[in-house]
């Protein structure tokens, strides 16, 4: 029974840590499936976190308890608009996609902190007054064992993230848009010959990744950090990128990987209270997600194949 108690105590925390990663990783899946590498996920999360916190601070009194939901939406939209920059560079200007992603990351942090300095006169905002609160889902949380494990003391955003993952799976594998998206990422020339606009699909995919990463950043800001500063988002975007690869570019796989990373993170925080982990130095739990990702890539945990045309700008007429 001890194991179940452990899961009961740790599961809400796992869901809480993994939600931002799930959203962002789904964004990564869309972008990379269309053949655009998106190292800029980190910067897009920064934009999402920044704009949701600013919105929340400014409009908390106007919208009351509706504020965090609207802030979530604003975070997604701002990051979506910001991601157009990556799309323009990577798709239209044939830029090196990794480099453009690095520029996005630098730009997002620079711009975010610059504006915070300009608007608030300091490098870190105050804490927001209208964050998300943990809730128990009615009825479902009354189920014995599972109810307490999965449906009580979590944020609604965690469940939305999981629903989004299922939706993304449906879109990518069961709709004609998804088929086009995948074909553009595997063999853009063949797709182009069949009358699919590579440019259009890639723009849509990159903007989708911006929206989702913004949602991820906003979720992180509104549930975990509750304020914005230079170090609010430090590495979650790269972690999400790892989840994309660990999940083999599949939305449900990415979700699974994100939950696993959340689990590792929850263990590294709660590990000290668990008898069988008390003697394990924390550092092993902290680096576990990264080491496992490398092992997964090296083919020790099943081979991870990237979409064929990932990272290649598509230049019409060239072979």
């Amino acid at each position: 029974m001890q194991f179940i108690e452990l899961l009961q105590s740790i599961m809400p925390m796992v869901l809480f840590y993994s939600a931002p990663l799930i959203f962002t990783a789904l964004g990564g899946v869309f972008s990379e499936r269309s053949g655009v590498v998106n190292i800029g996920l980190e910067g897009l999360m920064v934009m999402g976190a920044f704009s949701s916190i600013v919105f929340n601070l400014t409009f908390a009194e106007t919208f009351g308890s509706l504020t965090p939901w609207l802030a979530l939406l604003v975070g997604a939209i701002v990051a979506g608009v910001f991601s157009i920059m990556h799309a323009v560079a990577a798709v239209t200007f044939h830029a090196n996609q990794v480099v453009s992603g690095v520029a996005i990351n630098m730009m997002a942090v620079g711009l975010g902190i610059f504006l915070i300095h300009d608007w608030y006169g300091k490098g870190q905002t105050d804490s927001i007054t209208q964050p998300f609160y943990t809730r128990s889902i009615p009825i479902l949380s009354d189920i014995p064992i599972i109810g307490e494990m999965f449906f009580s003391g979590s944020y609604y955003t965690s469940y939305i993230a999981i629903i989004f993952a299922i939706l993304s799976w449906f879109v990518i594998y069961k709709t004609s848009f998804g088929l086009r998206l995948r074909s553009v990422g595997e063999h853009p020339m063949a797709a182009d010959t069949n009358g699919i606009s590579v440019t259009r699909i890639r723009y849509i995919a990159v903007i989708l990744s911006g929206l989702l990463a913004g949602l991820g950043g906003a979720t992180y800001a509104l549930t975990i950090s509750l304020s914005f500063g230079g170090s609010t988002i430090s590495g979650q975007g790269f972690m999400a990128l790892a989840a994309v690869i660990f999940g083999k570019w599949h939305p449900l796989g990415a979700m699974g990987a994100a939950i696993f990373f959340g689990f590792a993170q929850a263990l590294s925080v709660a590990g000290r209270n668990l008898p069988f982990l008390a003697n394990v130095p924390n550092v092993y739990l902290v680096i576990a997600p990264y080491v496992l990702t490398i092992l997964a890539l090296a083919g020790f945990i099943g081979r991870a194949e990237a979409p064929k045309a990932n990272g290649e700008p598509y230049i019409k007429g060239s072979r």
Binding site: T92, F93, S234, G235
Partner: protein
Amino acid sequence: MFSSRLFNILIPVISVVMGLIVGAIIMLSFGYNPIEGYVALWNGAFGNMYFLGETIRQSTPLILTGLSIAFAFRSGLFNIGAEGQVFIGWVAAVWVGINFDLPLVIHVPLAILIASLAGGFWGFIPGLLKATRGVHEVIVTIMMNYIALHVTNYMIRNVLSENGDTSERIKETASLRSDGLTELFGYSQVHWGFIIALILALFMWFLLEKTTIGYELRAVGYNKHAAHYSGMSVKRNIMMAMIIAGAFAGVAGAMEGLGTFGYMYTHASYTNLGFDGIAVALLGANTAIGSVLAAILFGALKVGALRMPPLAGVPTELVDIVIAVIIFFVASSYIIRWVLLRFKKGER
């Protein structure tokens, strides 16, 4: 017609100008005076010996991370892992600095050598995985960065100190600082590492352009298949390129450990030396001399930025935006090329 050599010089120059123009527009639109802002920036970077010393100090590790990324680029690899290699080199140099008792002429080179080996090892792992299992080096190096961050933090707390957030100070014999130099540059943090960085830049130029090893590395970077066909070992060259790239970044870490700080402290996140190194390498067109010039530019921007808030009221982060815009334009050189050629056609 534009020659490719002219393009190689024009593109970075245009990108820098565009970056500064965007910076000026941002300052204007937020009600700051861009002239005041840039004057403060200039004086903060070169205004007197102290600021000049700081600019040199800031440029030193940037030259080395720039070389690291440029070197890997020339061999067809993208070393995003300089960030982690800096951490590992830093911790290794500080470890040697604390734990050995040696005369200066041996202690300093030994510490730098160990740092380069440690950084080289950190580059070897992604190189090995790339060469033997075909794993993309970008993702592995990103992961290695995080592992380095957490492992070095752990080492500082448990090996280099007793649960503290900073290591002990290195012995005087391992320090790159000297009283004469410090005094000359108005008691800034400048150290002799600058000379080491310049020597290594020369070394990289020589290795790439004048030796068989460099020729093979570049050949693999241009076209793996052709290199393989002409009997070069692609795998060996990939591993070697990553080891050397890692070693450069490791020495950058040693500069921080033996020069600027003289100890190491736990980091909550990256030093950004590695990511800025990407900007340096790109702007420097992946050449040794270009990296040196670009590193001095970015070093000056970063140090000068610190004088912008007190003198012109402009937040320092403006410079990060300027640097991001510069990289953005260099990365999109295709469009600059296109516009220039259009322009040229119009003239006729």
